[in-house]
């Protein structure tokens, strides 16, 4: 997955254009809607050449390929930082203009993923009396494993009023319907849903923010930010090469996550197959995002006994309470005092386990967040949960089980929710979601 940094010239970009629907910075100039007229979205300045490549380890110089059969940022080893953004397509935007936006986003995302500036002239060149095309805060920074992943929300296909703005209602995946209300949900519509989403992950927070900032800028007039979320620490491992990180409760999270090194499990649980339908989504996935607020002040007043009982794991090593080490399989039957199981009936590890959920597994890719504090002087802290799965039903099954029974519910509240269909990977010269509009 990891390759050394190579310089991509604008000539290469132009060469890779496919006939008819080809993308180039010149083409984009012509395609761009009135609101972005004059902004050339090509590929220029190469700032990454300065970073030495060290293949095999995720480091500042790591570059993940943007193009491929699946989008990057899913089975990619989870980077440390996140900027996630949901957009609504602006009123009056046509199908053609939406396609142009996706094309512009594709070109810019490919450039940034490769460590290049956005636009023909980048951040520090170009007409002296014009604003620079790239916002510039990533100058001198390596990509630090930047991945940019796009998704389509249910409302892109059909608005709440039932409107089919882009002639794609017939192509909406049957599974792409808003998630059900789960017990305890306290959702803020301003932090939920959206027509489009972009997940930008990097080991450098400024690189992730730079990506969302520039993609938002490109979208002005065509799509507007609905909500966005920063994450400062990954809470899952998606590769066996990664240590398991901790959530803000201080526990290791995602020990039993789906890992990239399990191709059969990934194929079975993460990627939509051609047989699942619709055909345009084959090789894609479904992304669930949940903003989970943690009442950490209350948690911190809780005894270690209860904390470990709630998770069903030890706080230190992360071993299941039934014994062993972090990666030991939990023994849900093993009983202690009074024949009560060591891992309680309401323990998080039990309720989230595939054996309790008809075998459903999720590829989790969440992040810790602390967005300042609330009006009551409590840290606005929590987990921005992201999971990828072959069908939203996998998430719904697990979450229904958790929402009803999980002992952790006393300390968390789901305050944001969104579901997106994530199209398959992008062929060089094509654009994200091309199969949807083909």
């Amino acid at each position: 997955m990891i390759r050394a940094v190579t310089r991509r010239t604008s000539t290469e970009s132009a060469d890779s254009v496919t006939p008819g629907r080809g993308l180039s910075r010149r083409g984009l100039l012509g395609l761009a809607g009135a609101s972005v007229a004059g902004i050339g979205l090509g590929v220029a300045g190469d700032r990454v050449a300065l970073a030495a490549a060290t293949p095999g380890a995720a480091s500042a110089s790591t570059v993940y390929p943007f193009y491929g059969s699946h989008q990057a940022g899913i089975v990619t080893p989870a980077q440390d930082r996140l900027h996630f953004a949901a957009f609504d397509v602006s009123a009056g935007v046509t199908r053609t203009e939406l396609i142009e936006l996706l094309q512009d986003w594709t070109v810019a995302a490919a450039a940034m993923s490769a460590g290049q500036d956005v636009g023909e002239y980048g951040a520090t060149s170009g007409p002296y009396d014009a604003p620079p095309e790239d916002t510039g805060e990533a100058q001198g920074l390596a990509t630090a494993g930047l991945t940019i992943t796009f998704g389509f929300g249910p409302t892109l296909f059909k608005t709440a009023d039932g409107e089919d703005r882009f002639g794609i209602i017939g192509r909406r995946p049957a599974d792409l319907t808003p998630l059900p209300h789960f017990p305890g949900d306290d959702l803020d519509t301003g932090r939920s849903d959206g027509d489009l989403c972009i997940q930008a992950c990097s080991n450098d927070p400024q690189v992730a923010v730079h990506a969302i900032r520039n993609l938002s800028r490109i979208a002005f007039g065509r799509a507007a930010l609905r909500w966005s979320q920063l994450g400062f620490g990954r809470t899952s491992s998606t590769s066996t090469t990664q240590a398991t990180p901790r959530n803000l409760f201080g526990f290791k999270d995602g020990t039993a996550n789906i890992k990239a090194e399990e191709p059969d499990v990934v194929a079975d649980q993460v990627w939509v197959s051609a047989a699942d339908g619709p055909a345009w989504l084959a090789g894609g996935s479904y992304l669930v995002a949940r903003r989970i607020r943690m009442t950490i002040e209350t948690w911190d007043r809780t005894s270690l006994r209860e904390q470990e009982a709630v998770f069903g794991r030890t706080k230190g090593a992360g071993a299941p309470l039934s014994g062993g080490t972090e990666f030991s399989e939990p023994d849900f039957a093993l009983a202690g005092r009074e024949d009560q199981p060591l891992i309680g009936a309401a323990a998080h590890v039990r309720l989230a386990h595939p054996t309790q959920n008809q075998g459903a597994k999720l590829l989790r890719r969440g992040y810790n967040f602390v967005d300042g504090n609330d009006d009551l002087g409590r840290l606005e802290a929590g987990l921005f949960f992201i999971s990828f799965q072959r069908s939203p039903a996998q998430f719904t099954t697990v979450q229904l089980n958790l929402a009803k029974h999980d002992a952790l519910n006393e300390y968390i509240r789901h305050v944001g929710s969104a579901l997106f269909a994530v199209p398959a990977g992008i062929a060089d010269g094509s654009y994200v979601g091309a199969t949807l509009f083909a």
């Binding site: 309470l321 202690g336 009803k404």
Partner: protein
Amino acid sequence: MPRVLRSARLLGVSLLGVGLLSGCVANNPTGESVALTVESSADGCTVSAAETPAGATSFSITNIGDQVTEFYLLGDDGLRIVGEAENIGPGLTRDLVVQLAEGSYFTACKPGMTGDGIGKAAFTVTPSTSSTVVNADLDAQVETANENYASYVKDQISQLVTGTDAFATAYLAGDDDAARALYAATRMHWERVETVAESFGDLDPKLDLREADLEEGQDWTGWHAIEKDLWPEDAEAGFEAYSAQKRAALTEQLVADTATLDENVQELSFTLSQQTNGAIGLLDEVATGKVTGEEEAWSHTDLWDFQANIDGAKVLYAGVRDILLEEDPDLADGLDTEFASLQALLDAQREGSGFTLYTDLTPAEIRALADQVNALGEPLNQLTAALVL
């Protein structure tokens, strides 16, 4: 506000009322905790030292066997349990921290958690240079606190039964003014012992579920379902007042579930740590649901619940305060002060026999209440460690 399962906090965790305290001594604030290790195997129970000076002692017990194990520190008769760590899974390590007075003890492990245990060995606590004093009256004080709290819970639930009957009668008769007047005052009996009441798994959601906590298709019963019918002002457009049949069904269920609760609380007893953690639990109820105005979404009588949660926490604290005065008078001082400050904030919101509605509080008033809950929470956090060690 039921958040599905809170039982672990007060009842589920250590049902055995083991006297963790039997060997307790007054806290020695200057003494460093001595750290010992224990290895529990199928046929051995090896402690890293056979003697230690009096004071805070930490046993770090590692289960190197393949069965669930327990570790016991026993008194000089070899029977009385001074401290224990139970339910240690194979490969896991758990700490047992105790205050030990000079004297003779025994250590033992119980792999498999049955039988008399193995590896029983003499363990000596030598005089310490620090001034630790045995508190011989402690067991009796703890037992008294336990009995008093059990009586308090029974009394509150008994009053809840009476109040619920009167509320149900008024609501059934269509006397909504009377029902509204009884609603918050009656619920205070529930809220005073909320952590106990909530520990009975399925009763809590039946009696105290908020609408937002419902699963799709789930029947909504209990206090808050009736609350919405009595205060429909904030209900969604198209909300219809309940029919007489629905009122009858809801009240019948409410009365029956409350009677079941009354039966369930008759035989309870509480260890010291359950009492101290119960006080924290009540404060957390305030922090999570009341100070945010989420508990009483329709009636906005959150301050009644707030006061009742604090009442319950104060009772739990008062029960152990005499013990705390001997163990850590400074902490007792701090708790007295913070409880009083919180009560003063609540008293400032009294109106008639009740309180200001949550929706009539200013943001600054809400913030002051929230800050004082945290101010009380921090010393309350230390209570368990101060008493149980």
